[in-house]
Amino acid sequence: MLLRNVNFHRFQCGFAPGNIPNFCTVLEHALLINIFLTVLYVSRSYSNSPLPDVQQLSSDESVSGKQVKPERKSVVPSNSRFIYPEFLPDPKIEWRNSLREKLERMDMIQRRKHIDIPEFYVGSIMAVSSSNQHAPNKATRFVGICIQRLGCGLRANFTLRNVIKHVGTEMKYQLYDPTIQKIEVLRLEKRLDDELLYLRDAPNEYSTFDENMEVEYLPEGAPVPVNPEMVKLKPRPWRARWERKDMKGLADLGLEDRFYERAKELATPWEKYDLMKQYRKTIPEEEQKEIFAEVYSELHEVEVMRKKLKRKKVFIKPTKNV
């Protein structure tokens, strides 16, 4: 049982097979090593970086057990992948490049130190001020609901939608674009779907927002509210066959039965059980932990700085009007 346990940890930590004979000599200290490796295993959280080889470990052990202190466990909140989704790379294997991803993450943190990129979700109402060389005063501001958030790394982007003078207008922004001056979240909330592209087929009142909207603050530490609004679409034709997309935020579509029958024929309800597909579509949890452990301390610092500045801004002394 003990042997199997040790072997299991060896496997998890990725030791080279050449080290097995060394490992056998260490079996006398198996219990100690087992504890040590468990500590290592927890603190490094499946680290892929090469570990010191077994011989070194055993000598460390023999000198004193107390020298080996467990690394400080980082306190990365579990919702980081929702707050900072662009820090996770594209899971497509052909496009992975660990060095490029690391450099991009460094650049992203550098950018975040200069401007405040707040937490937002699809469905939040945002305002973006950016420099625009074409504008007469060299700056523009656009208010709208975030209908799509795509991309990872420095290519992360989001799309805002608003109805201006009865014409639906959409604007795509790159999150790390150096021309952006300010990103404000006017109302922080989520909607029932991950993409709100069906607002293009909905009546205008669903995506009309006032340009001079005030910021709505949430109490500190409150969970992000989910807006359960159901959207009633205009009659067909639509930009997509929404009855086939299984959208949760759509009210009754009012179609004939044949549309729903066809949608049922084409549905793939077994795909949620396809573990391999899920694995290829996502970044594994261990890798996510590693990435966030690398960037979280700096991100947290930026966040604390931002809060301090905000507090300062809130309590501005009222000035006398002459």
């Binding site: 950016s130 504008a135 201006i164 003078k165 014409v167 207008t169 795509k172 674009d177």
Partner: protein, 142 residues
């Protein structure tokens, strides 16, 4: 079985919403001819795009067939996907102009992309058509 095979025989591609020949458009200025055509439910059709691609985008000059007449127009907003920082609209908007680039109407009631200021200035040459008059009648920019 045969129906399944028939369904798999052809492929479909995503709609690209190009402005090309025979595309229906929306007149957004207040010229009489444009207003009448839109009110009758007979929006103008593009019959030529004055560029080498044959696909029009923001700032391109086109010729439209409107109420049995041939009129030139400038595209001031498209439905198709745009690059970052350039707006995308829910309709293909045009403004009617004459041969000198002077708009037929006196007011544009929809938002106009700011890039159009630069694009139209670049397309205007001295002694040629002056397209920048269109910018003066726009009510707001996006």
């Amino acid at each position: 079985m045969s129906t399944i095979f028939a369904a798999r025989q052809f492929s479909t591609s995503a709609v690209s919403n190009h402005i090309m020949k025979l595309t229906r458009l929306r007149v957004v200025d207040n010229s009489t001819i444009g207003k009448q055509a839109m009110a009758e439910g007979k929006p103008p059709r593009c019959i030529h795009v004055y560029n080498k691609k044959g696909i029009g985008t923001i700032g391109d000059k086109i010729m439209v067939a409107i109420k049995g007449e041939k009129v030139k127009a400038i595209i001031v907003g498209c439905v198709k996907e745009q690059k970052p920082n350039i707006p995308r609209f829910d309709s293909n908007n045009i403004v009617l102009i004459d041969d000198n680039g002077t708009p037929l109407g006196t007011r544009i009631n929809v938002p106009i992309p700011i890039v159009l200021r630069t694009i139209l200035k670049e397309k205007t040459f001295s002694k040629g058509a002056d397209y920048t008059k269109l910018l003066a009648i726009a009510s707001n920019y996006v």
